[in-house]
Symmetry: none
DNA sequence: TTGACGCCCATAAACCCCCATGTTATCCCA
DNA sequence: TGGGATAACATGGGGGTTTATGGGCGTCAA
């Protein structure tokens, strides 16, 4: 398996460290990531975490823009400046910085959520609230489209 | 890693010195920059800092302008005349000059922001305000394009 | 001589390596 | 099928190293 799947919650210790779920670590290794990079989500109190290939996508997008226009500058600011490195120590833990806590509201626990090519970290309660809203939207979408397959 | 990524805030000491984040220093060394050059941003209260190749970037920008117009002349004056060298001392610190303080509003603390090929220095509060505006613009961009790059 | 600047060192805090412990899940065998 | 052995994992903490920061001192130039 080489995709980030499933979710779990781990506790932050007195030094501010938290274990990355073992399954995610094995994906990290399989993909050959030497370091993890966390990007601040634009519209959610979460961080997107992945390898540096996470940035490649954004940089390709930026390359399409006129480098001297505001859009290119904004995009660069977002993907280069609004993130932080997450070093895995040799026990597979990362340190949760103030930068991350501020944006996510994370206190004592961290929820890890697989998203395929990357994963996210959330404050567990906020994740639960977000999950409820997502399910609601999906349900409305299905009803609006006239039912679809049963079940 | 050979790109300037992530951001952090450091304090200026009584002599006007501030530590460049260790990670940025290692990028500077990896890129072989013997000296850093700081340019006033055209449209933001920040300095762009990088190697001398930073000038290439500005010169490209100027090359886009009609050389008979005043804009090109102004830009040339701005970037060739309104920059300053930043020497790294052997503890990895730079001195924040009055010239920099005036343009950025920097007082006691400096925010370092990675921008890929270069980095920026900001007054922390102004950076926070700028970041909020950038995220707002990017969100609008995403909504306008009906989905956008991520998710 | 004074002030800006470079070089040096001291110290506290942050960070990372290593090992220990407890808990949970898995497996094996009676 | 139950129960104990085992392995995998999350978590806690000790201690060394790196980093940020503060300050002393000599040099050079105005």
């Amino acid at each position: 398996m080489d995709r980030f799947l499933s979710s779990s919650v781990n506790r932050i210790d007195a030094k501010g460290r938290v274990s990355v779920p073992a399954h995610f670590r094995s994906v990290v290794q399989k993909r050959g990531y030497l370091e993890l990079y966390a990007l601040r989500c634009l519209d959610q109190p979460a961080m997107d975490v992945g390898g540096l290939d996470l940035l490649d996508r954004y940089e390709q997008r930026i390359a399409q823009e006129d480098p001297f226009q505001q859009a290119a500058d904004d995009m660069s600011f977002f993907c280069h400046g609004d993130g932080s490195f997450l070093k895995l120590d040799q026990d597979g833990r990362i340190t949760v910085t103030d930068f991350i806590r501020e944006h996510t509201g994370i206190g004592q626990e961290v929820a890890f959520v697989g998203r395929g090519q990357f994963f996210q970290i959330w404050e567990p309660d906020r994740l639960a609230g977000h999950g409820a809203k997502v399910r609601e939207r999906l349900l409305m979408l299905r009803q609006a489209s006239g039912g679809g397959p049963s079940r």
